[in-house]
């Protein structure tokens, strides 16, 4: 079980959180003409990297905030967590 540092609540057990997928995916802006290809990429295409990955987690049994986690998908090591307004570089 992972130990995740919620930027709002601190270190908590994984069972308090829900996974939310790749955090680097940006939804095309609302009310903008979007090509089929761009839309399909947004909806369906995801990378499955081995190694560092910035992903979304949702503290569903806590503060209910979505935030970013930089995690190694192979070792589960967590390098950083950040609020949505913050960048992980």
């Amino acid at each position: 079980m992972l130990h995740i540092n919620c930027p709002f609540c601190g270190l908590r057990a994984q069972k308090e959180f829900a996974y939310g997928g790749d955090a680097t995916v940006k939804r095309p802006e609302i009310n903008r003409e979007v090509s089929k290809e761009e839309w399909d990429n947004f909806v369906y295409m995801r990378k499955s990297p081995r190694g560092k990955h910035i992903e979304l987690w949702h503290h569903i049994s806590g503060c209910r905030q979505w935030f970013k986690v930089q995690r190694d998908t192979a070792t589960h090591e967590i390098f950083k967590t950040a609020k949505m307004s913050e960048e992980i570089v």
Partner: protein, 998 residues
């Protein structure tokens, strides 16, 4: 009864407390502090089971977790459990055990015929034999394998015992209380760290209890007791015996299995039997020690062949002799101590040492003690079927591949030692890639991947001096990192025997023309010949050899067999062991009970139960409940001997004719506030929301980005910047997460807040032609006319002084309202409605009638919104705005979604107007067509239409609207039904929707 093999004056058992137990129908006695194994051995019982494949007689090999054979069916307090390790379970009064895998008895087992047919049972036997004909699998092979290959029998009784889970955090977890574990826990505790010390056995001390050493002029046992008693006084230390850390997971999470009540003869009702600990440790010390491995020789599975360390432990801890005429068969010095212990107890051992004429401290001591040693000797084959009677021994040639001479000597036990294998399972589980240590012929941990440090014998250091020093050093270092304290430790003075180099020898050759089985893995009956076959047949990877032969599988995880198996493969393949590699270690290290994994989450505690404020009333009024997620909802209110169908028909009919009330508290409710709330809803729902006036509700559908419907419901504008959203009961949590996702991540610029208010409001629907009359009596001061409160209108009022929200919305398709009051007043509201509704023939209705009402109206719900339908599929085209953008809109023009013959919702009636159509039935053109019969659609919801008094269903059918008027068959292979159905419109009742607006 006499305990024939019990020694006087030695052992740590409590001789004042005699315990009577039963084994295979016979009564025996042992002492408090015995394990089942030590008590049986004290009574001279070696034969305890039959082997997995050949049903060969088997006895004890080890004295702890290493034991591969002695798995028994054990009954305590009427609770029976299979595969209990006799070397680990403590003796309690009334314990009863039986052998497994034998019939009719362990002494005479019919299955032993396999032993004589063994040339027909080679490695891969199952794969080769049971492959064909295919039709034989279910009826012939599987039952045969199940019967023949099983070990114990799982109890069919409900487990009455109590199990617990515990979550713990600490600075340092120390796994194992041997010398290195004690030293490190002590040093860390002195630095003020919060320490948990776990020991799987009842007694702390590990090898200190059995090794001939002295620490600060104390025996190992006395020193360990001194350290433990000091640790016990320290508030920052938790000592846990009978506790096995069996799994090492991510982020330094360890899982530990504690046997809390198994050893108590009269434990209280509330004492758990076992407890599962989730321990998050900042640092972990793995002081798990090592396990002795056997040397492989002919018939080395005969009862009476034991590990030399186990023989010593049985003497020193339990005061039990495993035999009176022992052979010590070794390739190293450590087994000599077992010989000394025998000698001390007036038993004359003979030592066979595979090394050539050898000199060392222990060899000198043995010679001084007058113990006979035969160098370059080994046991070729053990004679005796159910117990060792003699051994054929041989003098090895220089190359150790054949014999200079052989002879047979009498013996009643063979204590074998093939050197020591560090217990690296937890280190490996933590992600540590192991490395091979040539010096000890075994794998030891390499670089740590987590906050883990392996010390002592588990790290391949086999001298006490080194072990204790590294214990103090590591415990002190790791803890001072956390506590910033650095207490000076005085390292104790250690006196121990210096062991000399061991012989890299692990398997006895066989003389020509002799072919007894030489077992590598006892628990799975894997012999040397099986590994040879696997390699001959082309299995090269050690993981493949493992699976083909089953070497190292099963509950003992190859603790005694892995390295011998690797050596075998490396020898035949002419590779060095590190090239062969090792198989993966996985949790659990030892078997744990299902009960412990489940903990308290059984029965009513399996998941939380959510009850509405009206639950008590429902219960009193014969409601039959149905689970809706965690909620309990009344399915119907039973009157007399009514069936479900009769009751739901009565309730639904009453709504259509009079009025009914339904508890709708469970609907998800989300409060939405903020200046951008309208814009937000406009993006979330497919229809337009910007112009919804205050005091009006609107039905909406929300999509996922892939265009599929996520949920539907009504949302009401309470005030300018305040909305009240309802969701389906099932999707409430998902919808909230969905909204939060868009507000926090995608459109953070929108000034909107959302919060769940599901539990804050109690809701009741009032539905039926008389609902307005009833409402006017509930709110006598309120104008509830069609003009004042039209369809989709909203008014706030008070119900006899209680603030209430009144929504004119309808799921039943009738004139209907929904009233919400604060949860605490839910029951009050309900009772008032029941009281006032009397004159209108009001009846409560449950979810079954609710479904009936919505199905015959063609209103969609969960079964239609199953994540595979877009709005156009379920006749919600009108709700999809063409003008504005919304979540999922860009997906709706996908080719598959716009196909002419795309699936659509339709209604179905059976052509006989009588047969109910099972939900989930497939719709096919020809019920008798050859499989696979092309499927044209499926039945999503079924009911008995009270309006038309015949069955009616909703279905999703390819090219649905053009199919209307056609006939198909609804087939359900599960229910074994095939019903001819006619396709009609999904709106079976009031298609124009006049009633809701009346």
């Amino acid at each position: 009864m006499r305990q024939s093999h019990r020694l006087n004056n030695i052992g740590l058992i409590n001789r004042d407390k005699v315990i009577t137990f039963n084994f295979n129908g016979k009564s025996y006695q042992g002492y408090e502090g015995d394990t089942l194994a030590s008590a049986l051995l004290a009574n001279g019982v070696h034969l305890v089971g039959r082997s997995f494949k050949y049903h060969r007689p088997r006895g004890f090999i080890g004295a702890g977790v290493d034991e591969p054979n002695a798995k028994l069916q054990v009954t305590i307090n009427g609770h029976s459990e299979p595969n209990i390790n006799a070397t680990e379970i403590e003796l309690v009064e009334g314990l009863s055990a039986t052998s497994q895998n034998c019939w009719p008895s362990v002494e005479f087992d019919i299955g032993a015929i396999n032993n004589f047919l063994k040339r027909f049972f080679p490695a891969g036997f199952y794969y080769k034999t049971f492959m064909w004909p295919k039709s034989f699998w279910y009826k012939v092979y599987e039952p045969f394998i199940r019967k023949a290959a099983g070990l114990g029998v799982a109890s069919l009784e409900k487990d009455k015992e109590r199990y617990e889970h515990k979550f713990e955090y600490c600075d340092l977890l120390v796994t194992g209380s041997g010398p290195s574990g004690l030293a490190s826990a002590y040093a860390a505790a002195k630095n003020g760290a919060k320490v948990i010390l776990a020991e799987d056995k009842p007694r702390y001390g590990g090898t200190l209890l059995t090794d001939d050493v002295s620490i600060d002029n104390m025996s190992g046992k006395d020193w360990s007791e001194k350290i433990i008693s000091e640790l016990k006084t320290m508030p920052n230390v938790t000592l846990k015996n009978r506790s096995q850390v069996f799994g090492y997971y991510d982020h330094n999470m360890m899982v530990m299995f504690e046997r809390v009540g198994d050893h108590l003869s009269n434990k209280s009702k509330y004492t758990p039997r076992q407890r599962l600990w989730y321990i998050r440790a900042k640092e972990t010390i793995l002081s798990t020690g090592s396990i002795e491995r056997p040397i492989v020789f002919g018939n080395n599975d005969t009862p009476g062949v034991v590990l030399s360390s186990a023989a010593k432990e049985y003497m020193k801890v339990y005061g039990v002799l495993v035999g009176r005429k022992p052979i010590i068969f070794t390739n190293n010095d450590s087994a000599y101590e077992t010989a000394f212990e025998f000698k001390k107890n007036n038993v004359e051992p003979i030592i066979l040492d595979t090394r050539e004429e050898h000199d060392s401290e222990v060899v000198q001591e043995a010679k001084n003690k007058g113990i006979q040693i035969k160098f370059s000797y080994g046991v070729i084959v053990a004679n005796g079927y159910k117990k060792v009677k003699s051994a054929k021994i041989g003098k090895l040639t220089k190359d150790k591949k054949s014999f200079e001479s052989t002879e047979t000597i009498n013996c009643d036990c063979i204590c074998v030692s093939g050197f020591w294998t560090p217990t690296v399972h937890l280190a490996s589980q933590s992600g540590n890639k192991l490395k091979f240590d040539e010096k000890i012929d075994a794998f030891i941990p390499d670089k740590s991947k987590q906050n883990e440090k392996t010390i002592g014998a588990a790290n391949g250091s086999f001298t006490l001096q080194e072990t204790i020093e590294s214990g103090f050093k590591t415990g002190s270092e790791l803890s001072s990192k956390i506590t910033d304290k650095n207490n000076e430790n005085k390292i104790p003075t250690v006196t121990e025997t210096k062991f000399s180099v061991h012989d890299k020898f692990w398997c006895m050759p066989l003389p020509k023309n002799e072919n007894p089985k030489r077992f590598v893995d006892f628990q799975n009956d894997v012999a040397v010949s099986d590994i040879e076959i696997a390699l001959r047949e082309g299995y090269r990877s050690i993981e493949h050899v493992k699976r083909y032969t089953t070497l190292g599988m099963a509950t003992d995880q190859g603790r005694t067999s892995n390295l011998n198996g690797l050596q075998m493969v490396s020898n035949i393949e002419n590779k060095i062991v590190p090239e062969v590699g090792h198989t993966t270690f996985r949790p659990p290290f030892t078997p744990i009970t299902i009960g412990t994994i489940v903990g308290r989450e059984v029965g009513m505690e399996f998941m939380p139960t959510r009850k509405t404020p009206m639950h008590e009333w429902h219960e009193k009024n014969n409601a039959v409940f149905v689970d809706a997620g965690a909620w309990k909802r009344p399915r119907y209110y039973k009157q007399g001997n009514e069936t479900l169908l009769e009751a739901s028909k009565r309730e639904a009919k009453n709504v259509r004719e009079n009025v009914g009330i339904c508890d709708v508290t469970t609907l998800g409710k989300i409060d939405i506030k903020g200046p951008d709330a309208a814009e937000f809803l406009n993006r979330v729902y497919t229809n337009a929301w910007l112009k919804l006036p205050v005091g009006k509700a609107r039905y909406g559908v929300m999509l996922r980005e892939d265009g599929m419907i996520m949920d539907d419901g009504t949302t009401t504008r309470i005030s300018e910047n305040h909305y009240h959203m309802t969701t389906t009961t099932a999707q409430a949590a998902n919808v909230l997460s969905h909204l939060e996702y868009y507000l926090q991540i995608v459109w953070p610029e929108l000034n909107v807040n959302v919060v769940s208010t599901t539990e804050q409001w109690a809701g009741a629907a009032i539905a039926g032609p008389k609902s307005r009359d009833m409402l006017s009596k509930l709110f006598p001061d309120l104008d509830v006319s069609n003009e004042a409160l039209p369809f989709m209108g909203y008014i706030e009022s008070n119900l006899f002084g209680v603030p209430a929200r009144i929504f004119r919305i309808s799921f039943s398709g009738e004139l209907a309202y929904e009233v919400n009051v604060e949860s605490n007043y839910g029951l009050f509201m309900w009772e008032k409605m029941m009281e006032i509704g009397q004159e209108f023939n009001n009846q409560p209705y449950g979810t079954e009638a609710l479904s009936t009402l919505r199905i015959e109206m063609g209103h969609v719900a969960g079964p239609e919104l199953d994540g595979r339908t877009i709005p156009q599929d379920v006749s919600l085209d009108g709700l999809v705005s063409k003008k504005k953008d919304f979540i999922g809109k860009n997906s709706l023009d996908k080719e598959a979604f716009t196909l002419e013959n795309r699936q659509k919702i339709v209604g179905l009636v059976p052509t006989d107007r009588k047969s109910s159509i099972p939900e989930g039935s497939h719709l096919v053109e020809n019920e008798k067509a050859k499989l696979p019969n092309p499927k044209l659609g499926h039945v999503s919801s079924s009911c008995w239409s009270v309006e038309n008094n015949n069955p009616f269903s909703l279905a999703i059918v390819n090219d649905g609207k053009n199919m209307i008027g056609k006939k198909l068959f609804a087939v359900s292979p599960l229910k074994n039904t095939s019903i001819e159905v006619e396709i009609i419109s999904s709106h079976y009742v009031d298609p124009e929707g006049k009633r809701v607006r009346s």
